[in-house]
Each structure stands twice: as structure tokens, then as C-alpha cells.
């Protein structure tokens, strides 16, 4: 069964690119444009990995990450944070909140796919 990935980003074009890329690599992909939307989908979809943009209006990526980590039944969920903000403070903040990885935009498709694959196979 294909691993499930939830893409959360308010940039429509980025979501399109990621969706295309991950589907092509055999993942079961769902998308969410906001933090609220993401949280709403989590229970039903139960993704193995969440690709999470940090800078979103209202509910930010940090907040989504925190919520996920506060749920014991979601412990296996991997979280990869995506952000155009690449300063060290922001990276360490993301990691301290429980993200598995912090990827700075723009990213290399190949590397991103490889990283996701590594994360998911390690968990399996």
C-alpha cells in the first residue's frame, strides 16, 4: 500500500508541483491550503508524512506541527517542514517543535523525494 503524504501550503503553484512530483513517485497524496484544512484532514487521512509549509496565515505550520505531536495516536507521523525562511533560528524552532526535517525553499526535487523516501522507509 502506498504511503500517504499530506501537502500543506498556501502557495497554489508550489502545491501543484509537489503533488505532481510525489504522485509520480508513487505516494498517495492529499493537499491542504491552510493549517485548519490540514488539521481537519489528519484524522480521516492519517498520512504517514506531512509536508508542512511554515508561513501560512492564521494557523501556521509550527502550530500544526505542535498539534500533531501532542496527539499520542499520531506518533508515527513524519513531519517535514518547508519554509522560505532559512535562518538558523527558524530551523531550530521547527526541529524543537518535533519536525523530522526542515527543508528550505527553493528545494531540489530529487533531494526532497530522496529524503521523503528515506524517512518513510526508516519508519516502516
Amino acid at each position: 500500500m502506498a504511503k500517504k503524504v499530506l501537502i500543506v501550503d498556501d502557495e497554489r503553484n508550489i502545491v501543484t508541483a509537489l503533488e505532481f512530483l510525489l504522485q509520480k513517485n508513487g505516494y498517495d497524496v492529499r493537499v491542504a491550503a491552510t493549517g485548519e484544512e490540514a488539521l481537519a484532514q489528519l484524522d480521516a487521512f492519517r498520512p504517514d508524512l506531512v509536508l508542512l509549509d511554515v508561513m501560512m496565515p492564521k494557523v501556521s505550520g509550527y502550530e500544526v506541527c505542535q498539534r500533531v505531536r501532542s496527539r499520542p495516536d499520531w506518533q508515527g507521523m513524519k513531519i517535514v517542514m518547508l519554509s522560505a525562511k532559512g535562518r538558523e533560528v527558524e530551523v531550530s524552532k521547527g526541529m524543537s517543535l518535533g519536525a523530522d526535517l526542515y527543508v528550505t525553499k527553493p528545494f531540489s526535487n530529487t533531494e526532497l523525494v530522496a529524503t521523503i523516501g528515506r524517512l518513510l522507509s526508516g519508519a516502516a
Partner: protein, 923 residues
């Protein structure tokens, strides 16, 4: 009725009444309800100026000299007008420095010099003795005359009497006793004698009443009014010349002038006048009434002088009767016993008033300025260690009173018979006039020094002694008369009555001219020769600048030393008693907010000064100085230090103002710096934020571009539709990137002020329709209707047309962007209002919440309905628009409610020439 026992009894009854009044006034004063705190009582007490000299002597002088008696009263009347300047200042100085007498005043002014105080005292006592003898003579003569009733016999005709049978001696002793009772019953810390002042005021009424009574009787009973008397006098060849006073009879004009000046000075510097005017003054404001009341009194008591004088001359044509006694002898010869008795009492009252006040004033001077400073300096006596000196003080004063009156009596015996009353009085006037230069100079000229004052006084006094006292003694036979006629050792130039060959003046004028030349010359000359000492400098400034002194403690700032509060209390208690000292200390503590004696007092300069002031009130400034010095380790300030303090005092005010100003400036500057620093920090933070934001905004499109580029590169077999879609996205994101970069650069230019502006006259109607036309495709694509309302007559603006287009494009793009496709409607209107052109861009989109309205004009703030589609913008557009509008002197704002669309509006000022034209049209 006029038998001896009756007269003696009446006299004592009168003195008893005086004493009762004084006693009552003292009791009232002790109870805090002063009876003399009234300008009327004050003015009446000043009338102590009118003595037996006035009462008997004026008539005597008028009978010989016509109106020649008048200068003595014109002087005070004239000078009192100046009192507002002179006497008010002396009053203020005396109150602030607790001056106890004229000698104290002068000593205090010139550095609290005990020597100067002593000299002034000696001059005053010697100078006043003739004057006191005059009173004794008047009383004893009137008594002797009255006793001869109904005969009229002059005392001189009775021949010499043995000492113990001499009425004058007994009068002197009785007056001494009476004065002691009046003036030294107790020791007042401020030398106030309320009882005495009340009695004096009463006496002024009595003598005025008596004189008016005899005047009215002579004028209207004995004769038929003034007209009758003067007509008869004109008819008398002997009296006629008296009615033309300035034709050689009353002396020359110069003697009138000098007598007037002399009496001007006497009214201020006679010890008794100083006592009642200054020392006994309760309120500076009393001067205001005295300035007209006192001259009025003078006028009243002089009105009948000439009628009585002429009446007497007409009545006693033979010259057997001394004109000085006319006031008394006229009623007697007409058998008016009651009137004669009233006159006798009036004369007694005039004389006793003078004697009492004069001897009290003199005894205070003798005690405070002559004897005490000397005694205190004699260490062997150990007086500074004695626990209670108030008994000693009273003893000295009482002794001084007796001594002064006995000396007055001696002068009477030595010289009294040779002169008329007025001439004797003038000798005293001339003596006290010697105080004028150093007092008046002292309060108006800081340059006057102790040595100058001493030199002036001694020189003036020497000339006075030589030209007035010496001739008086010579004429009485105590010195060879040849001295007067040929000069000492036959040197004509030194003749006492024609010094350096100046002859032809009357004796007083001659003496005044020479003594004043010597006095003023020495005072000014010596003062200018040497700079004043530190103490003098300080006192000079306290006196001359009295009206700019803040309070009594003014002198304290010049003091430096160490003291203890209990010591200061002890020394004060020794002179004023423990109870008074306690009261004085409590008052001081109360001012300081200290609960003395529970809490200790700080023996600082202020306390030392305070105690010295109060001590000075009891024993005079020079003695107080000595006493204070005995308990205080004082470090003398050098002259330079004092001068520095004085110079600084005036400069400090200037400096402190400057310092205040500077510190205000500094504060303001540092506040500015702080604010600037905050601004810089804020700017720094903003710059960081800006860079971070810009970076983020750049990376977002870059992310899409890279991601799709890699997809296209890595997957050559991609379906065409997808390939086209992805390339389309790449193109859009690249455009976005370009736009962003352009706007960031644009903003940077706007914010740094380096943007170029090409202002021209712009017709907003044209411009708006041009932009709307240019965007018609955009509206068409989204099926949004656009309406333009631009009426004719909207004035032109002066602006950069391209920039305004940029603003409009931005606003219109936003409007379209937020409008619902198909149902959207955008309204653009141009209008003119109050010198401005207004453009509104209204849409029917979702509207903007109040919170969002507050931030949309900030950098990188985007508000969009993210649920549907994220608006494609940089977040810089509105910010740039606002910058552009504001640069043109306009404003840009938004009005909106959620669900009701938004309206962005901006105004621009009308072009200048246009505005003038518009104004012209209105006119």
C-alpha cells in the same frame, strides 16, 4: 490758687496720670493688644519733636525775630515728604537687624564697630546735653515764675540759688526717677517701650491743647482777633520790622536755608526722634499717615506763635519780661489762674516728654554701645561667663539716665543762663546733624567705610565743639572771652565764630557750614582712600540692599564657623531671661519644623545669626557681636571671600539661570538622542524584517520556478498539456518575481528620496479615463463592470503623471482582484472639493475588516480570501501608492465594511495657478 503746694501737687498728679497711661499701655502690650499700633498714636508720638523749646521758645524767638522761628518747623514738614524713601529704608534696615538705637544703627552699618558706636554715643550725649538743660531750664523757670504769682519776676532777677535749693536740680532728679520707672521697668528684647510711647502721645495732646488754649485766649479774649494784634503791631515802631522777616531781622536767606536743613536732619537724627520714629515703630505703613499728620500737628502748634509773641511785646513794652515766658506770663498778669496752670502743665508735658524719650534713647546707647562692649571686652570681669546679665544691664541704664540728667543740669548751671531757649536747642541740633553723612551715606552708598564714618564724625564734632560749644562756655564765663574776639593765641583766622575769616553769618549757619564741610569731606575722602573690610562690606550690602534682602537670615550666608545650640541658648538666656530665650528658640524651631527641645537644633549659620539678631535687640549689635563671638568659634572670612560671595550672589543668579537653561537643553538633547537611538534600532529591526520578508517573498516564486523546471528537465515524456501548464506557471512566477524586484527597488527609491519626479499639469479626468481604458481588457476578462464618473470642470493638479497612473492601476487591479467574477462592479469617480481633487475607486467585493484596514498600507501586508485563491501580489502596492500620494501633498485612505465592498480614495491639491483661477471665479 497758684500756691506752691497746689502747683507741686498738680505736677505730681500729672506725672502720675502719665505713669498710669504708660502702665495701662504696657499691660495691654503684654496681653498682646497693643494700644500704640495705630498711625495716629505713631504720628502723635513723633510730636515729641515739639518740646519746651517750641512751647516757650518759639514765642521768645518770634518776639525778637518775627517769623525767624519758622525754619525749625518748615524743615521737618519738607523732609517728611522724603521719608517714604529715606525713613522707610531706615525702618526696614532697623527691623531686619534689630537695631536698638541710632548709635547701634551706625555701628552696625560699619561692620558692627564698637568703637564707632561709642563715638556716636559720646557725640550724642555731649550734643544733647544743652537740649536737656534747655528743658530743665524751662521747667524750673516756669515753676519759679508761677510761684511768684501774682508778681511777674524773672528767675534771673532772683539771683543765684544754692545748689540744693535749685529747682532745676530737683526737677532733674525727679525726671530721672520718673524716666527710670518709665523706661527701665523691664528689659525688652526689642527695646520697645509701649507705655512710654502711649504717654508721649498723650503729652502731645496735652501740650497742643494748652498752647491752643493760651493762643485762643490771647488772640480772641485779650485782643480782638489776629487782625487787631497785627494792626497794633504794625503801629508799634519796635514791632514793625518783625513783620518783614527777611529784611535783615531774622538773618539772611542763607541762615533760613541752613536752619531749615538743620531741622530736616534733626527730625531724623535726634536720638529721641530716632527712638519714636524707628525703634518704637510698630508698622512701616504708619509712615503713610504720619507723613501728613505730623506736619498738620506742626502747623497747629505754630499758628498762635506770632499772635502770642506780639501780644506779649505789646503787653510788656518795657522788655522786663523774658519773651520766652510770654505764654505763661500773659495769663498770669491777667489773673487767669486756671489758664496759667494749664500752660504750666502744657510746658511741663512738652519738657518731660522730651526728657523721658531722649534720656531713654541715650541711656540705651550708653549701655549698649559704650559701656557693655567695653565691659564685655574686659576678660578679667568674666562677664561673658555670667549666667544672668539682665540685672546688670538695667543697672547700667538706670545709672546712665541719672548721669545724663545730672550732666544736663550741670550744663544748665554752666551755660544755661547766657542763651535763649532756641539758641541752646540749635547747638544740639547742629550736633546731631553730624550723624547725617554717615547714616544717609551708609544706607545709599556701599563705599562708605568705618574709618570714613569715624573720620567724618570726629571732624564734624570737633568743628561743632569749636564753633558752638566753646563759644557757649566762653560766653558763660568759663573760658576767656578773648578767645572769641581774637581767636586762640590771637590767630584771627581761627576765631571760633568766624573760622578762616568767614564772618557775617549767624553762629549756627557758620558752624553748620564748616562742620558739614569737615564731616562730609572726611567721610567721603577717607572712605575712598581704603577699601572696606570684610565685615563692613557685608553690612554695607545688608543696609544698602535692604529691600532686596529676602528676610532676616540674609546675613547668615556670610558666616562660617562652629557653634553649639545649647551654648547659644545660654548666652541668649543670660540677657533676656530663660523664658524669653526658650520662646525665641521655640519660634525658630517651629519655622524649621523641628520639635525643640525634644529634638536638637542644628547650630548652623542661620541659628547663630538668629540668636545674634535677638541678642542685638537686647544689647545692641556690637555687644551682641562680642557675646556671640564668645560662644562661637568663628572663622573670619577674608575680604576676598566676602567679595567673592557678594559678586557671586549676583552672578549666581545669572549662572544658575544659564545652568538651568543648559541642563534643560542637555535633557532635551539626550531625550532626542534616546529617541534617535530608538528610531535607529527600530529602523535596524525594520530593515532586518524587510530583508527577511523580501527574501521570503523572493523565494516563494523561485520555489515554484525551480520545482517545475526540474520536473520538466527530469521528465522528458511529460504530456503536452501538463508541459504547457507547467511552463505557464513558470512564466507567471517569473513575472511575479520581476514585479516584486521592481517594486522593492521602487520602494527603496521612494523611501530614500532618490526617486525622480516629472511634475506637470495633469488633467485627472484624462488620466483616469486613460487608465480605465488601458485596463478594459482585465475588466472584460473577469466580467467586471467598470463605471467612470468624471464631471467637467475638475481642476488640474500638478503632479507626476506616470506615478499617478501607477497608483490608479494599483487601486483598479486590487478592485478587480477582489471582485467576484461576473457580478463585480467597479466605480471610479473624479471630483473637485475645496482646493483638492478627489478620486474614489469603489468595488463591490468582500470588503475589508477594520483590523485589516489598519494594516493594509504597511509593507508586505496582504489581505485575501485564502480559502479560495491567494491574491497574487507583492504586498507592497498600497504602501507605494500611499507614498506617492503623500509626496504630492495628498492623502490616501480606505473606507469599507465587511460584505459591503471597499472604497479607496485619495485627494491631491489643485495646481497653484488653478487655485488662483478658481478663487477668481468664486469672487
Amino acid at each position: 490758687m497758684l500756691q506752691g503746694p497746689v502747683i507741686v501737687l498738680t505736677s505730681f498728679a500729672y506725672l502720675g496720670l502719665l505713669f498710669a497711661i504708660a502702665y495701662y499701655a504696657d499691660r495691654r502690650a503684654d496681653a498682646g493688644r497693643s494700644v500704640i499700633a495705630s498711625p495716629y498714636i505713631y504720628s502723635l508720638s513723633l510730636a515729641v519733636y515739639a518740646t519746651a523749646w517750641t512751647f516757650y521758645g518759639s514765642v521768645g524767638r518770634a518776639a525778637v525775630n518775627g517769623v525767624g522761628f519758622l525754619p525749625i518747623y518748615i524743615g521737618p514738614t519738607l523732609v517728611i515728604a522724603l521719608w517714604w524713601i529715606v525713613m522707610r529704608k531706615i525702618l526696614r534696615i532697623s527691623k531686619q537687624n534689630r537695631i536698638t538705637s541710632l548709635a547701634d544703627f551706625i555701628a552696625s552699618r560699619y561692620g558692627k564697630s564698637a568703637l564707632l558706636g561709642g563715638v556716636v554715643t559720646v557725640i550724642a550725649v555731649i550734643g544733647i546735653l544743652p537740649y536737656i538743660s534747655l528743658q530743665l531750664k524751662a521747667i524750673s523757670n516756669s515753676f519759679t515764675i508761677v510761684l511768684q504769682y501774682p508778681e511777674i519776676i524773672m528767675p534771673a532777677k532772683l539771683g543765684a540759688v544754692p545748689l540744693l535749693q535749685d529747682t532745676a536740680l530737683w526737677v532733674a532728679l525727679i525726671l530721672a526717677a520718673f524716666t527710670i520707672v518709665f523706661g527701665t521697668r523691664h528689659l525688652d528684647a526689642a527695646e520697645h517701650h509701649e507705655g512710654m510711647v502711649a504717654a508721649i502721645a498723650f503729652e502731645s495732646l496735652v501740650k497742643l491743647f494748652a498752647f491752643l488754649a493760651v493762643g485762643i485766649w490771647v488772640s480772641f479774649v485779650l485782643y480782638n482777633g489776629f487782625g487787631d494784634i497785627f494792626t497794633r503791631a504794625t503801629g508799634d515802631p519796635q514791632l514793625k520790622p518783625l513783620l518783614a522777616p527777611l529784611e535783615g531781622v531774622a538773618g539772611s536767606y542763607s541762615s533760613w536755608v541752613w536752619l531749615t536743613i538743620l531741622s530736616m536732619l534733626a527730625i531724623m537724627f535726634l536720638p529721641r526722634q530716632f527712638q519714636v520714629t524707628v525703634i518704637e515703630n510698630k508698622d512701616e505703613k504708619h509712615l503713610n499717615k504720619a507723613i501728613w499728620l505730623f506736619p498738620l500737628y506742626m502747623l497747629a502748634i505754630n499758628v498762635f506763635v506770632l499772635p502770642i509773641a506780639f501780644g506779649g511785646r505789646l503787653h510788656f513794652p518795657g522788655g522786663n519780661v523774658d519773651a520766652d515766658t510770654f505764654v505763661l506770663t500773659l495769663p498770669m498778669v491777667e489773673k487767669q489762674e486756671v489758664l496759667a496752670l494749664i500752660v504750666f502743665i502744657g510746658g511741663l508735658s512738652a519738657a518731660t516728654g522730651m526728657v523721658i524719650v531722649e534720656t531713654i534713647a541715650l541711656s540705651t546707647m550708653v549701655c549698649n554701645d559704650l559701656i557693655m562692649p567695653a565691659l564685655l571686652r574686659i576678660r578679667a570681669l568674666g562677664l561673658t561667663m555670667r549666667p544672668d546679665l539682665s540685672g546688670l544691664l538695667l543697672g547700667i541704664r538706670r545709672g546712665a539716665i541719672v548721669l545724663i540728667l545730672l550732666l544736663g543740669y550741670m550744663y544748665f548751671r554752666l551755660a544755661g543762663e547766657a542763651y535763649a531757649l532756641v539758641s541752646i536747642g540749635l547747638i544740639s541740633f547742629a550736633a546731631v546733624a553730624q550723624f547725617a553723612p554717615c547714616v544717609l551715606g551708609g544706607i545709599f552708598w556701599k563705599g562708605g567705610t568705618r574709618r570714613g564714618a569715624l573720620a567724618g564724625l570726629l571732624a564734624g564734632f570737633a568743628v561743632w565743639s569749636y564753633t558752638l560749644l566753646l563759644p557757649a562756655l566762653a560766653r558763660s564765663g568759663w573760658l576767656p572771652l578773648g578767645l572769641l574776639e581774637h581767636g586762640p593765641f590771637g590767630i584771627e583766622l581761627l576765631k571760633p565764630l568766624a573760622l578762616f575769616g568767614v564772618a557775617g553769618l549767624d553762629q549756627t549757619t557758620h558752624a553748620m557750614i564748616w562742620s558739614m564741610i569737615a564731616n562730609i569731606g572726611a567721610y567721603v575722602g577717607v572712605s575712598l582712600m581704603a577699601a572696606p573690610g570684610a565685615d563692613e562690606h557685608r553690612q554695607a550690602s545688608l543696609f544698602v540692599d535692604v529691600f532686596s534682602q529676602p528676610d532676616e537670615a540674609g546675613g547668615a550666608r556670610f558666616w562660617r564657623g562652629t557653634a553649639s545650640a545649647p551654648d547659644l541658648h545660654d548666652v541668649l538666656a543670660r540677657f533676656v531671661g530663660t523664658a524669653s530665650a526658650d520662646e525665641i528658640f521655640r519660634e525658630y524651631a517651629r519655622q524649621r519644623g523641628v520639635r525643640w527641645p525634644q529634638e536638637p537644633l542644628d547650630a548652623d549659620a542661620a541659628l547663630v545669626h538668629y540668636v545674634e539678631m535677638h541678642l542685638a535687640g537686647a544689647i545692641g549689635a556690637s555687644s551682641a557681636r562680642v557675646m556671640i563671638a564668645s560662644v562661637v568659634k568663628e572663622e573670619a572670612l577674608t575680604l576676598d571671600e566676602v567679595r567673592e560671595v557678594l559678586d557671586e550672589a549676583s552672578q549666581v543668579v545669572v549662572y544658575s539661570r544659564q545652568v538651568e537653561e543648559k541642563s534643560r537643553e542637555l535633557e532635551a538633547a539626550s531625550a532626542e538622542l534616546r529617541a534617535a537611538n530608538e528610531r535607529l534600532k527600530e529602523l535596524d529591526r525594520l530593515k532586518d524584517d524587510f530583508i527577511s520578508t523580501v527574501t521570503h517573498e523572493l523565494r516563494t516564486p523561485l520555489t515554484s520556478i525551480r520545482a517545475f523546471s526540474e520536473i520538466l528537465r527530469d521528465d522528458p515524456k511529460l504530456a503536452l498539456a501538463e508541459r504547457e501548464k507547467f511552463v505557464g506557471i513558470i512564466c507567471k512566477e517569473t513575472e511575479r518575481l520581476t514585479r516584486l524586484i521592481n517594486q522593492v527597488l521602487d520602494l527603496a527609491k521612494l523611501e530614500s528620496g532618490t526617486a525622480e519626479w516629472h511634475d506637470t499639469r495633469v488633467d485627472m479626468r484624462e488620466l483616469v479615463s486613460e487608465v480605465v481604458t488601458a485596463m478594459s481588457q482585465v475588466f472584460h476578462d473577469k466580467a467586471v463592470r467598470v463605471e467612470l464618473r468624471a464631471p467637467d470642470g475638475v481642476p488640474a493638479v500638478y503632479a507626476d503623471a506616470d506615478r499617478l497612473k501607477q497608483v490608479l492601476l494599483n487601486l483598479l487591479s486590487n478592485a478587480v482582484k477582489f471582485c467576484e467574477a461576473g457580478r463585480g462592479r467597479v466605480e471610479v469617480s473624479v471630483s473637485g472639493e475645496a482646493g483638492r481633487v478627489r478620486i474614489d475607486v469603489r468595488d463591490n467585493g468582500p470588503g475589508i475588516s477594520a483590523a485589516d484596514q489598519a494594516v493594509i498600507f504597511e509593507k508586505f501586508r496582504q489581505v485575501g480570501d485564502t480559502l479560495t485563491e491567494k491574491p497574487q501580489g507583492t504586498g507592497l502596492g498600497l504602501h507605494i501608492c500611499r507614498q506617492i500620494v503623500e509626496r504630492h501633498g495628498g492623502t490616501l485612505w480606505v473606507e469599507s465594511r465587511v460584505g459591503e465592498g471597499a472604497c479607496f480614495s485619495f485627494t491631491l491639491p489643485v495646481a497653484p495657478s488653478q487655485r488662483a483661477a478658481a478663487a477668481a471665479r468664486v469672487a
